[in-house]
């Protein structure tokens, strides 16, 4: 096998994800065709459902917010070459932190106090759930992939135990907490915009979206502008050289996992403080795992993560519309379509890398003899 020439960075960041997306959509189109529907109409419905119908953009961005946080949870650790599969559990435990603050502090304090404290609690709880596997990896050699998976199960078990026990709403039979009072609810963006006399349709989109954008910016600054970010990248790219350079490699790994966990934990601000207004069972519903595909597709870069999250958000929202509009396209088919995108953009992200690189490498060669003759 001839090794492929290296792929130019611009092609890796822009062209390759686009090709993956197109292939995924083409395969989905075939599935829709096999179901007897018109794929062109279907994609029109999806786009309208995700961006154009009143309130649909808000829904799309609400989903996007979740994906940004869980994508960052994978991306920060990935900079230190740590594979954090524990976003699901870290977000879940983050929800516990946000919920505890909202339940106990909200009845006696104003919103401007409760929300920041609850946000910090979400980040802190998530961080702890990332720090422990980070510690076990860095100082005890337990593989991060194994421990973060196990910590997802532990988180799930703890939350079931709490939500069906100590935290369950009194006089209720379903496993969730009591609803937060208003000062424990993250303000909705449409309420705020309408108060400023814009006319915006209602949607679950809340202030957490701005927090997610800030987190993306923070991620960029942390990794590429700070000394600790330099250390994280050094540990990720060459741990031996990092050790030689006097970097405390285990500590940096623990730190990166902590930041990862905090990002995952912040997902709870959107879902718990922003929308559910109570801690419910399984509110993470797979966003944590989708974060792996987001980070992979977004190449661990904030701009990439934003667009990957937007794509996934649009798929979630547009997919729901698809289910609504077509008799033959059921919820399961929508899940299948989403799965295809994850498959091609995430799991098979580099499938077209080598052919694309060969194609690009061949282009300038063709012009060479012409130059020589001239």
């Amino acid at each position: 096998m001839t090794p492929a020439p290296p792929l130019p960075r611009w092609a890796d960041i822009f062209v390759l994800p686009l090709i993956n997306l197109m292939v995924a959509l083409a395969v989905c189109g075939l599935i829709v065709l096999a179901l007897g529907e018109n794929p062109i109409v279907a994609i029109q419905v999806m786009i309208k459902g995700a961006f154009i119908y009143p309130g649909s953009l808000g829904y799309t961005l609400y989903y996007t917010t979740n994906f940004i946080f869980t994508g960052l949870a994978v991306a920060v650790a990935a900079q230190a070459m740590m594979f954090n599969i524990g976003g699901e559990g870290q977000a879940y435990i983050g929800g516990l932190g946000a919920g505890l603050v909202a339940l106990w502090l909200a009845p006696m304090a104003p919103l401007v106090l409760v929300i920041p404290v609850a946000v910090m609690a979400a980040a802190l709880f998530g961080a702890v759930w990332g720090l422990i596997p980070g510690y076990l990896q860095a100082y005890r050699g337990s593989h991060i992939v194994i421990t973060t998976i196990m910590f997802n199960f532990i988180a799930s078990a703890i939350m079931v135990w709490l939500l069906a026990g100590a935290l369950m709403q009194p006089g209720q039979q379903s496993p969730h907490t009591a609803q937060f009072v208003v000062s424990g609810q993250m303000p909705k963006l449409h309420d705020m915009l309408n108060a400023l006399s814009f006319n915006v349709a209602a949607s679950p989109l809340n202030l957490s979206f701005l927090l997610a954008l800030a987190a993306l910016l923070g991620f960029w600054i942390l990794i590429w502008k700070t000394r600790i970010g330099y250390e994280i990248r050094a540990v990720g790219q060459n741990p031996k050289a990092a050790h030689y350079a006097g970097i405390n490699v285990p500590l940096v790994i623990v730190f990166a996992l902590g930041v990862s966990g905090a990002c995952a934990g912040l997902m709870a601000t959107n879902e718990i403080l922003g929308v559910q207004h109570r801690v419910v069972l399984n509110f993470t519903s797979g966003y944590g795992f989708a974060g792996i595909a987001i980070a992979l597709m977004g190449r661990n870069h904030p701009i990439g993560i934003f667009f990957a999250s937007l794509l996934f958000g649009a798929l979630y929202q547009g997919g729901a519309e698809l289910d609504f509009e077509f008799q033959s396209i059921t919820r399961e088919i929508v899940l299948l379509i989403q799965g295809m995108i994850v498959l091609f953009s995430g799991a098979l992200a580099y499938m077209f890398s080598a052919p694309l690189a060969r194609l690009l490498a061949r282009l300038p060669v063709r012009s060479k003899p012409a130059e020589g003759e001239a």
Binding site: K225, E231, A234, N238, A242, Y244, G246
Partner: protein, 516 residues
């Protein structure tokens, strides 16, 4: 024309080969003719395009333009499989062996001969015996690669290539990892191969090897072949001049040292590896300000571990290290960061694994280890402008080419990578400098530059601990020399008393010199 009549078809003929990587022209119109059944040397500085040319010849890269003839026929290689089928074999600088398999298993890899191994094993055993008889390449077929010394591993690589029917053998820097003795054995094997009609292409930096073993030599500079010579008609000085484009001092001109107080002391040091092997035992020596203390020894006899202990990178069990008057023991260790803060610099033996982060750009590497310094930012933030300015200064002061701070470290040639590491470590005006293999894989021009820098630092009062596998380098630079074997010190000599032979026998662990 006479040789043409004897060997009408040269083994390899390259005509006007060009190859570019983006804006970099690695090969510019290279024309090369290698007669069959000769040993042909290719010398050139790092980044001169030797490796690119060999990779084209081995089918790993495709030339942008130009013709290639093998045994008189024009060929176009799309992959290494094409090269192998044409009888071209390559022994890479970094071996391609499965280290937890035996020699036999490695050699039969790819020719197992069916779903059961028995038949293939017998056949391979016969081949191994045959090669041992023909070329003196004896190896124990049942030895596990990981347990074998480097020289024998390399022999297994050669056997793999020859067994595949190679008539043309390319060796990329084959002696870089060998002891002088092992290198001599390699040369015997190469000569035996030559007598059996195998054509050998030898890429090397070492001019004495070219002179000792090759029949003809081609010199490359900046992607071009700048000269072909019959070895008997040339001299190392001429080759060096061709390589660098100017006159080069091949031996260092060393002034008298004026040693001062002891800055670095090691007493009764002992250390075991993570696998529990004793890698250092009872090491004691002092290094004074203004002297170069050399450590000679075959690679892997504890020198690496000794440097790592002193740099704070490795834990040790017994003894103590005294740095600028501060004592470090197993119970009171210091981290690499603390040691670097004491203005103790460390040029590691392996720049790819330790000295550099190859996927970082030059400016990212220029502050590696010093990234916490107030010079390169304030508080938690790095000041990119200051970092770039620092990198520019290092690159111009130490002649690192190309002088582009944004270029990834992996895209520099080996010599320039090493210059960048040395620039970074010496720029702080260190009081103690720990150096491992300062010129490994570095071209002649850069070697001269690096040696001058080390001597200038010595004369400025720095205590330098130098580890090198190059005996000539140790002898040429050091004021005193300690020889190590099996993790023990065989003795300390003044460099005036240390001849090659005496050091060689001590390196082999035979003679125990009286410590001076």
């Amino acid at each position: 024309m006479q040789t043409d009549k004897i060997n009408p078809a040269p083994a390899i003929e390259l005509i006007d080969i060009c190859k570019s990587f983006g804006p970099v022209q690695a090969n510019r119109g290279v024309t090369l003719r290698v007669e069959a059944g000769t040993i042909h040397g290719i010398v050139g500085e790092n980044g001169a395009g030797k490796s690119t040319l060999m990779n084209i010849l081995y089918g790993l890269y495709q030339a942008d333009s130009g013709e290639m003839h093998v045994a008189g026929e024009q060929v176009s290689l799309r992959s290494s499989a094409d090269a192998i089928s044409l009888g071209i074999g390559m022994v890479h600088q970094h071996f391609m062996l499965v280290s937890n398999m035996t020699v036999l298993e490695n050699v039969m890899l790819g020719s197992e001969g069916g779903s059961l191994l028995r038949a293939g094993k017998c056949e391979t055993l016969n081949t191994l015996q045959q090669l041992a008889d023909d070329y003196g390449m004896e190896v124990d077929p049942d030895a596990v690669i990981a347990d074998l010394p480097v020289g024998i591993r390399q022999r297994v690589e050669i056997i793999k290539a020859i067994k595949g029917g190679a008539r043309i053998l390319i060796l990329d820097e084959p002696t870089g990892v060998l002891t002088p003795g092992e290198a001599d054995k390699l040369f015997e094997v190469l000569k035996a191969l030559k007598h059996n009609g195998v054509t050998v292409l030898l890429i090397t930096h070492k001019l004495d090897e070219i002179m000792a073993i090759t029949d003809a030599v081609s010199v490359m500079r900046h992607g071009e072949v700048v000269g072909h010579r019959h070895t008997v008609q040339t001299s190392p000085a001429e080759l060096a001049r061709l390589m660098v484009g100017r006159d080069v001092l091949l031996s260092v001109d060393r002034g008298q040292a004026s040693p001062g107080e002891v800055l670095l002391g090691v007493t009764g040091l002992a250390c075991t590896s993570s696998r529990g092997r004793q890698v250092l035992s009872d090491i004691s020596f002092d290094v004074r300000a203004g002297e170069i203390f050399g450590i000679a020894g075959v690679s892997g006899n504890g020198q690496t571990e000794l440097l790592e202990v002193i740099a704070g990178m490795r834990k040790f069990e017994q003894g103590s290290v005294s740095l600028l008057g501060e004592t470090i023991t197993a119970s009171a260790p210091k981290t690499p960061a603390q040691i670097r803060d004491m203005r103790i610099a460390h040029i590691p033996e392996d720049r790819h694994q330790f000295g550099l982060i190859l996927s970082f750009d030059a400016k990212g590497n220029a502050i590696l280890g010093y990234h916490r310094s107030a010079d390169y930012g304030s508080g938690y933030f790095l000041d990119e402008a200051a970092v770039a300015a620092h990198c520019n200064k290092l690159m111009s002061d130490h002649d690192v080419r190309p002088g582009n701070p944004a270029l990834l470290a992996r895209n520099f040639s080996g010599g320039n990578q090493q210059k960048l590491v040395i620039a970074r470590e010496t720029d702080t005006d260190p009081k103690i400098l720990i150096v491992g293999q300062p010129t490994r894989g570095v071209d002649v021009g850069a070697i001269e530059f690096i040696h001058k820098q080390l001597l200038a630092l010595r004369d400025a009062g720095c205590a330098i601990l130098l580890v090198s596998a190059e005996l000539d380098e140790i002898i040429g630079l050091s004021d005193r020399i300690m020889v190590m074997n099996g993790g023990r010190q065989m003795g300390i000599l003044d460099s005036a008393d240390a001849g090659r032979d005496r050091l060689g026998t001590m390196m082999a662990g035979i003679a125990q010199a009286v410590p001076s």
